[in-house]
Structure formats: structure tokens, C-alpha cells
Amino acid sequence: MNDFSYTQAASAKEATGIIKEKPQAAYIAGGTTLLDMMKANLLEPPQLVDLNQLPFKGIEQTSDGLRIGAIERMSTVGEHPLVVQQFPAVSQALLLAASPQLRNMASIGGNILQRTRCGYFRDAAFPCNKRVPGSGCPAIAGDHHNLAILGVSDSCIATAYPGDLSVALAAFDAVLTLENQKGKQRRVPITEFYLLPGKTPQRENVLESGELIVAVTIPGAAHARRSTYLKVRERSSYAYALASAAVGLDVQNGTIRTARVALGGVGAQPWRSREAEKVLTGAPATEATFLAAAAAALQGAQPLEHNRFKVELAQNTLVRALQQVA
């Protein structure tokens, strides 16, 4: 770990101002991603800007949907009655993540910005295109059993976002409110927030330098109220997903009126599957429909030797999740 200074920002302006002057400085919220990276000497910010005093708080009903402040803790949001009632999948995604201790520390903004668990990325002794652009991707011919099969490129096959929350947010059309160094706010749907690796895996999202995540807003909907998040992992708890599915269905008289599907653990980014939704919408809520939707969702999969199992696992996970909400 390097030497660094620490500042508690009292306002968004102060926070962004520091990064403007010192682009290498970093924001810290719960610190559960950032400090791990610093301890491994992967990030060496000269200054940490603590966001915890910013007014990015509250979980409240707005005309656009449920608005959640970026600094709220995973545990608070996961257990909040409004979240539980309106977005069961979001609540479950939060509460199935990490451990109680981590959830008590970790913020929503930090969760959205968590980094990949690719073992090569997390050890500076290895090359890695995401960490050192142009150095190569050892995972492609190496250990990639829990890396992505959708949206990958020749440069990087990581699940850049390995977590759960953004998968549920992607399914239910959540919108991020961002604020830049000029104090200007913009709204970006989470499905447009993350970038595919392409030739630039080091660029993971559309945030400008110093831009803050202020809040996330999730529009209410019938399919969101009837939703679930199913997570398959190598142990019963406290593990990242091998595959996960956030699904919501609005079923009336056995027919699916609207559907939302996103997959985790398999995509280079949280994987919203409009292909699967197309198959589901208007179709009978039957196993045959679910199987067809699952096949559609994995259509473009590009598995490698050690993550080939994910093609079937993700489909089965999706089918099982759809059965649960149907």
C-alpha cells in the first residue's frame, strides 16, 4: 500500500474539485473494493476523498420510481420495505451478496463500480489488458472458469462487474443520476452505463473523470413486483455467482404480458437479455416458453474450455428463476 492523504468531502463540489486537481485521487465510500485493490498495490491513489458525508442518501418514492441515494448501504437498501415490496429481485440481489459485514459497509455507488474478480487482474505479477492495456489477456488460455461468455472480446473475457445488484438494476430499467466536475447532473440508464471490453477493456463505464454517482432510480412496474433473483455459486453463501438471473414477469391468465430478464456471472457486463424478453412477451408461462427464452438469452455465447458449463448453467438458472415467478 502506498502513502496517501485523506479528505472528507463536505459537498459534491468539493469532492469533484479535488479530483479535478489531482486526477489520480480516488473516491472512497465503504472502501470494500478500493482498499482491497490498494492493499494489492493495484491502485495507488495519492489521496482518498471520503464521500460518506455527501447528501447522497435516502430511499424515497418519486414520480420516476424509487430513488436510492448512492451512499446508502447495501444492507439498508436490501432490507428496506419499499425495496422488498416493489423490487424483490433487487432486495434479494443485495442480500445474497458478500457477507453481512461487507453489506453493512458497502455502498450502492461502490457496488455498481466494483471491479472484476479475474485472478490475473488482481495480481500485478501477471499481464492483463484491463490493468495494463496492451499487455495481453492470460485468462483466455488460462483460468477462466468463472469469467464471461457473453459480450467478451479478444482483449478481455472478464465479468467486469462480478456482483449482483447491477444485474437486478439492469433487468428493471434503473437509471443512474451522475454529477460531473461542473456540478452538472445527467441521467444514464444502467444498461448504457457499462461498456463492453472491445479493444479497450480498461474502460468499463461511461463515467467521466471525477464524475459521481448520486443516486439510482428504479421505475415501479408489475413485472418488478413479481420478480426474483436467483444466484448459483460454488458454496451456499458468500461467493460470487457462477450464474445468476434477475427476472420479473407480469402474467395474466397464464399469458406473459411483460417480462424482464438479466443475467449475472456470464456477461462482460450485467447482461440484460432483450432476446429472452421477446420470446417471453405474449407467450404462455410454460416450461417450453422458459426453455426457449433461455436458449435465446445464451444464443450469442462464446464459451471457452473452462467456462463452457456456463452456457447450460445460465440457461438452467434462468429457467429455474422464471419457474419461481411464473
Binding site: 500500500m1 502506498n2 502513502d3 494489492a40 498495490n41 474478480r117 485472478g119 490475473y120 488482481r122 495480481d123 505479477a125 501477471f126 492470460p138 488460455a141 488460462g142 483460468d143 472458469h145 448459483v232 455459486r233 460454488e234 458454496r235 451456499s236 453463501s237 458468500y238 461467493a239 460470487y240 457462477l242 450464474a243 458449463f309 456456463k310 447450460e312 448453467l313 438452467n316 438458472t317 429457467v319 429455474r320
Partner: protein, 744 residues
């Protein structure tokens, strides 16, 4: 509590439980010495080659840094230097790594420099500034490739009777020509011990030739011997203190390079150095369970009598040191088989040296043997328990002599009843609850009931308590508690009046805590010391009170501050006996198991039964029930013994379902280096483990009748789970761990 309540067989709470849960127990990294400094190790980033340059300038100039030590400037450690008396051939079996001795790299993350600074943070900061350049050489870390050059261990070459040597009874490889046979390969990946407490040491040169080590070790005497030799010091100039050890599982049975490094650091700076490995370094700088390939061929008659077994094994070791373990031992003695062949080989790779990990080789071997038993039973359409009973050994077929005791049959019966074995279906994949497929499996374990030599001292104190001391360690099983119980019963005192001190090399000698032998060994010495103390007190009382002169030591009692003789009015106050300093102190040596050792084969036995559920769609495995039954002789403490069984069983769940270190052979470097990637079981993975003890004494092992628990708690668990997964799904997984990717 009345003094005559029996303590042995009770569930006495841990005597140090309160100290541990309140944080008062001091572990090796918690000693605050004056002038303390902090050491952080820098590891190599290649697996094989030479260091061509090492830039330590930035580190040296960083704030608070006292020294940066490497092969370039390390003081000459006497034990590392050639003596001129070396045999012309290199030493068989190799030798441990000599840290900072030369520029050679033998494994990835090998310590190449030590930074010592005045705070941990500054040491850590400076460590990242050290830059190394290497001349790489081609390394080999791949087992499949390494196995092509597998070799017989030197110990077996030297001694054809060594347990590592090839073994044969009847016809070699006789299974090959049989009609009913199986032949399968089994693989165990590299696994890491990862005790809660990471390896740590505080090294302090109290004088230029006096060294004190607060060290995480399973053996204070072994550690003292190692470092006395390394620094060419008389053994009594080295003091090793390991009062509390936060788990070890075999990991602290050897001395490791970081310990040598801390001692060097303290030498260079003239100040005590505290060094604790990081969790990442626990993957690389200490030992691990070796990757092991095994092959079993087995044949049987149609009515389920085994006619032949061939069991071969190749275990991973380092390029500089041979590590061997008893992977094949149980195959030679567990089942009746007239023809039996075992072959044990090693593959030397450019990795660090492995070390025994709980259940050691036997746990690895049992995965193959007990899986093969299940495969054979399936082929024969026999219940696997019935198949095992048909091949039950009433005496040791390897040594052709009786067992000291064996109550495995009783374990089978009880375990089957507790797990509900009658629900098991012969046809795999038949039991189902919704999307969950259910299955039952069993696996047997065994481990030698060994008893070595140990010394224990016992002293009657003026306050009427008895102080016992022994250099043994307690890495978690509750040794201090068990010893207190044994002493209490032998002396007829309540446990509160006993104080058992351990974990210091200055105490009377005992071997390391490992191989399930501590209670067998130290327990006997405690009993002997307590009897000797009674005898000493009797002698001291005899001149004034003649009744004691003719009394037997067993009859003497310690009652309310007096030495008494039941049924006799004779009473001597302790104060009278304690007039001479050290009068009431005895120091006793109990010898290793003697004549009985050659007449009987002595083993602990266990059987584990698992009920698992496997999700039909996602391949997730849940262990719903685990029953562990043990024939471990007398149980000294039912509660801590059950703890041992449960902990061992959970370790077995890890082995079966998740533990798996991934090395990228192109770099010869582990990719899994934290707990997010290297999974161990969490609470949700562990069902309530039901434990049953036969609790029958084995007086051939010692006078207490104990046989040992620690290892058999793990041995056999992984195959029980793997067999249950087969029973649930019809899928046989022969390469651990059984992760969902292998079942979807």
C-alpha cells in the same frame, strides 16, 4: 464439584475458553516487546531462475525503514553454510529452502527480500518499492507433465521396508485378469490449510547468542532444534513460545522460510522483528496438501469378496525437498484382499514444499479407495456397507497380527441408523424432492494410534494446586483441557486445582502436535507424572507418618490441603511436605509405546455418512446431513472431542465440494490467492454434524485407552460426500472438488 467426580469422559468446558473468547489469550503476533520492529516479505514473481538485479534503494530510503535484507547482504547463517563434511552425493530427500542464501528462485513468490521498519505500514509500503530483475529458466508446475518423471522417494530407495516403498502381497496387479473389475483414476487438487491465524513469528535476540521466538508452531521442541541448528547455538539458548496457536492443521509442523527471515532481520537490526504472513502469502510461503493423482484397480467375486487391489499414487513435491505422506497405508490394511499392490511415487515441480494437511495422505488416499469401494459395490449391485462388511478385516492383513482394538462394525451400524441409510436406493438418481436429487454415501477412515515419548513435570504448590508443565502445543483441540482432566482424575483433585502449562520449549520435552498423537502421548505422561508426584509426596510424608511408608502410591489422596490415606487416620498437611524447595516436584519421562507395538496393529477408525441434495438444474450440492462415527478409544472430553469431529467433517466438506488451488502453469503462479476465489465452507455449507463415539478403551495404546481423533475426523468425509453425489445423480466425480460445473 466433588473431587471424586470422574473428569475423564465428562464435557468439561475448555480451561482456556474464557481467555480465548475475551481476547486475553496471546498469540504469537500479539507480543509487544520494547523496540519492536515489523518485517514484510517480498516474493519472487517467477517460478524458476535467478535474480539478476535487486533494486532496494527506494525501499531503503523510505520512511521508517531499518533494513532491507536479501541474498545480497544477508548475514551468513551458520546452518546454511557448507561444512566441508558433506557427502559427495547430494543429500537424499533434499533440504529446506535457505532463505536469502543465493540468487536462485525455486518457486513463485519465494521470499527474496525482507523489509524491516518501525511500523507495519511503513514496512509494507517499502516492500512494494523493491524491484527485482530475473533471468528466467523453464519451469514445470504441471502435474501431468511432472508425473512423467515420477520417482520412488529416497526413503524407499534406501529402505525397501519403508512405508513409502512398493508393497506386494499375493500376485502383482492381479485385478487385471479378473472378470469383475474396475480401474479408475482419482485426482485431488492442491489445497491450502488456511488456519484462522496466519503464520507469524516475533524473533528476538536477547543476547548475541540467545534467541527467543514467539512463534506459531505445532512443536516448540522441533522449532527450537531447527533454529538452534541454523544458528549453531546450544539448544537451551533458543527459547520457543507458542502458548496459543490459532489453528494450524499441519501447516506449522515444519519451519518455513519466513521464520528464518525474521530471525535474520532481528540479527541485522539488533531489534525484535515481528513478521506475519499475509493471507496471500499463506498460499505460497508455507506448505499445502499436495496435488495427488491416484489410480485404483480392483476385482471381486460376484458375491462381493475382493480378490485384488492395486493402488498407485503420485504426489506433488518441490524441486528441492521430498515430501512424502501415507496415502496408500489404509489400502494395505482396510479390506481383506489376497492380492494387493501399492506403488507410491513423487513428482518434483517448481513449487514450494508441501506439508501434511489434516487427515494428511490418508485423507487423500481414502478419497480414491472409498470411491473405488463404492464403484465396485455399484458394479456388483451390492449395498456399499454390505460390500464393506463382506471384506471386513478381523486382523491386520498387512502385518498378519491382531488389531489392538477395532470397533468399526459398531460404527457402521450406528452411523447407518443415524443417517437413515435404509432410505438409500441401490439405483442412483431415484430419490427426489422437487428439483433436488437426494443421495446417501459413506466413507471410511483410519489412522495409526501412535504414542511417542514425552516428559511432563508436576509440582504441588503451597496453595494446594498442582502445576503441570509440558512443551507440547495446543493448536485448537483442547489439549490443556484434556490434560487437566487426566491429572484431576489421577490426583483425585477437582480440575480447578490443576494448572497445565504448555507451549514453551523450556518446559519438559514433548513432540509436535500432529498425527493425532498428543493425548495418547502427553496424556500418558501426565498420568505418569501425577502418579510419580503422589509417590514423591508419600515419600516426603513417610518419615513423620509411618503409615505412608508402606502405602501404595495409587492409594495416596490429596484432600483439603492434606496428604491422606483413605481408611486411615494418617494426615499430613501440605505445608509439612513443602518445606524443602522443589521437594514436591517430579519430572517424568513416559517412553514411546513399547512391546505392544510389535504384537498388535493399532489404529483409530471412523466412518462418515452423508446425505446430500443436488439440484437437478444447477448442480449445486448441499450436504443435508453428516454423521461421523469414531472408534477412537477412550474419549477424554466428550465436548472437545465432538468439536474435533465436527471441525474435521467440515474440513472434509471443503475438500469434497470447494477447496481447489488453481495454478497457471505458464507462469507457475497461483491464480487463486484470496478467500473470494479459494473457497472454504461457510456456516451455510455445514449441516449440524452428528457425532457418535464407540468410547471403548484400547489399553494397548496407553493406560488411558485413547487412540486419537484429529485425523480420522477428516479421513473418509470427502468420499462419503462424493459417493452420496453419485447415489443422487448417477454422476461419478473422480476429480475433486465437486463444483456445479461438473454436475450440470
Amino acid at each position: 464439584m466433588k473431587p471424586n467426580d470422574k473428569q475423564i469422559g465428562s464435557s468439561l468446558n475448555r480451561v482456556d475458553g474464557r481467555l480465548k473468547v475475551t481476547g486475553a489469550a496471546k498469540y504469537s503476533a500479539e507480543y509487544e516487546l520494547p523496540n519492536l520492529t515489523y518485517g514484510v516479505l517480498v516474493g519472487s514473481t517467477i517460478a524458476k531462475g535467478r535474480i539478476t538485479s535487486l533494486d532496494t534503494k527506494a525501499a531503503q530510503n523510505a520512511p521508517g525503514v531499518l533494513a532491507v535484507i536479501s541474498h545480497l547482504n544477508s548475514p551468513k547463517v551458520p546452518g546454511f553454510q557448507p561444512t566441508g563434511k558433506e557427502p559427495s552425493q547430494p543429500q537424499t530427500g533434499g533440504e529446506p529452502l535457505k532463505v536469502f542464501f543465493d540468487d536462485k528462485i525455486r518457486f513463485n513468490d519465494q521470499p527474496i527480500a525482507l523489509v524491516v521498519a518501525d511500523t507495519l505500514q511503513r514496512a509494507r509500503h517499502a516492500a512494494r518499492l523493491v524491484q527485482a530483475q530475473y533471468a528466467r529458466e523453464t519451469h514445470q508446475t504441471n502435474m501431468v507433465a511432472g508425473a512423467k518423471d515420477a520417482f520412488l522417494p529416497s526413503s524407499a530407495k534406501k529402505n525397501p521396508k519403508s512405508p513409502m516403498a512398493d508393497y506386494q502381497r499375493g500376485q502383482p496387479d492381479a485385478y487385471q485378469t479378473a472378470a469383475l473389475k474396475i480401474e479408475q483414476e482419482y485426482v485431488i487438487p492442491t489445497e491450502h490449510h488456511h488456519p484462522m491465524e496466519m503464520q507469524s513469528i516475533t524473533a528476538h535476540w536477547e543476547a548475541p547468542d540467545r534467541l527467543t521466538l514467539y512463534d506459531k508452531t505445532q512443536g516448540t521442541i522441533g522449532t527450537r532444534r531447527d533454529f538452534a541448528k541454523e544458528w549453531n547455538l546450544p539448544e537451551d539458548h533458543v527459547k520457543v513460545i507458542a502458548t496459543y496457536v490459532g489453528g494450524a492443521f499441519g501447516n506449522a509442523l515444519h519451519s518455513w522460510p519466513h521464520e528464518s527471515a525474521a530471525i535474520i532481520g532481528a540479527k541485522v537490526t539488533g531489534r525484535p522483528v515481528k513478521l506475519m504472513l499475509t493471507r496471500e502469502q499463506m498460499f505460497t510461503m508455507v506448505g499445502y496438501r499436495p496435488y495427488t493423482w491416484q489410480k485404483i484397480g480392483m476385482s471381486a467375486t460376484a458375491d462381493g469378496r475382493i480378490t485384488a487391489i492395486t493402488h498407485e499414487s503420485i504426489g506433488q513435491t518441490s524441486s528441492y525437498q521430498e515430501f512424502t505422506e501415507s496415502t496408500l497405508q489404509q489400502t494395505r490394511m482396510m479390506y481383506q484382499s489376497p492380492n494387493l499392490t501399492t506403488r507410491y511415487r513423487l513428482a518434483a515441480l517448481d513449487v514450494s514444499t508441501p506439508i501434511w494437511m489434516r487427515g494428511p495422505g490418508e485423507a487423500t488416499g481414502s478419497f480414491a479407495l472409498e470411491s473405488a469401494m463404492d464403484e465396485m459395490a455399484h458394479l456388483l449391485k451390492l449395498d456399499p456397507m454390505e460390500f464393506r462388511l463382506r471384506n471386513y478385516t478381523e486382523q491386520d492383513p498387512e502385518k498378519n497380527r491382531p488389531w489392538s482394538t477395532k470397533f468399526l462394525r459398531e460404527c457402521y451400524a450406528k452411523g447407518a441408523e443415524l443417517v437413515g441409510w435404509n432410505k438409500r436406493q441401490l439405483q442412483p438418481g431415484t430419490l427426489r424432492e422437487g428439483d433436488w436429487l437426494l443421495g446417501y454415501g459413506m466413507g471410511v477412515g483410519t489412522f495409526g494410534a501412535n504414542r511417542g515419548a514425552a516428559h511432563v513435570s508436576a509440582r504441588l504448590q503451597p496453595d494446594g494446586t498442582v502445576l503441570l508443565q509440558c512443551a507440547t502445543t495446543d493448536i485448537g483441540p483442547g489439549t490443556g483441557t484434556a490434560m487437566t482432566q487426566i491429572a484431576a482424575d489421577t490426583l483425585g483433585l477437582p480440575p480447578e486445582r490443576i494448572r497445565f502449562e504448555l507451549g514453551q520449549s523450556g518446559f519438559p520435552q514433548a513432540g509436535s502436535q500432529g498425527g493425532s498423537s498428543t493425548v495418547n502421548t502427553v496424556g500418558q505422561a501426565v498420568q505418569d507424572a501425577c502418579l510419580a508426584l503422589k509417590d514423591r509426596l508419600r515419600e516426603l510424608a513417610a518419615p513423620g507418618t509411618p503409615a505412608f511408608a508402606t502405602a501404595k502410591k495409587e492409594d495416596v489422596a490429596l484432600t483439603d490441603g492434606h496428604l491422606t490415606l483413605p481408611g486411615n487416620a494418617a494426615r499430613v498437611p501440605f505445608a509439612t511436605l513443602l518445606q524443602q524447595p522443589d521437594a514436591a516436584l517430579v519430572n517424568v519421562e513416559s517412553k514411546a509405546n513399547g512391546a505392544d507395538k510389535d504384537k498388535f496393529s493399532m489404529y483409530s477408525f471412523s466412518v462418515h455418512f452423508a446425505e446430500v441434495a443436488v439440484h437437478a438444474l444447477t448442480g449445486e450440492v448441499r450436504v443435508r446431513k453428516l454423521v461421523s462415527c469414531a472408534d477412537a478409544g477412550t474419549i477424554i472430553n466428550l465436548k472437545t472431542a465432538a468439536n474435533q469431529m465436527k471441525g474435521g467433517a467440515v474440513g472434509g466438506i471443503g475438500m469434497a465440494l470447494m477447496e481447489h488451488a488453481v495454478i497457471d502453469d505458464r507462469y507457475g503462479r497461483y491464480v487463486t490467492k484470496d478467500f473470494a476465489d479459494y473457497h472454504v465452507p461457510v456456516q451455510a455449507d455445514a449441516p449440524a454434524v452428528e457425532v457418535f463415539f464407540v468410547n471403548q478403551p484400547d489399553y494397548h495404546v496407553n493406560q488411558l485407552g485413547t487412540k486419537g481423533i484429529g485425523e480420522i475426523a477428516t479421513i473418509g468425509v470427502a468420499p462419503a460426500i462424493a459417493n452420496a453425489v453419485f447415489n443422487a445423480t448417477g454422476k461419478r466425480v473422480r476429480e475433486l472438488p465437486i463444483t456445479p460445473d461438473k454436475l450440470v
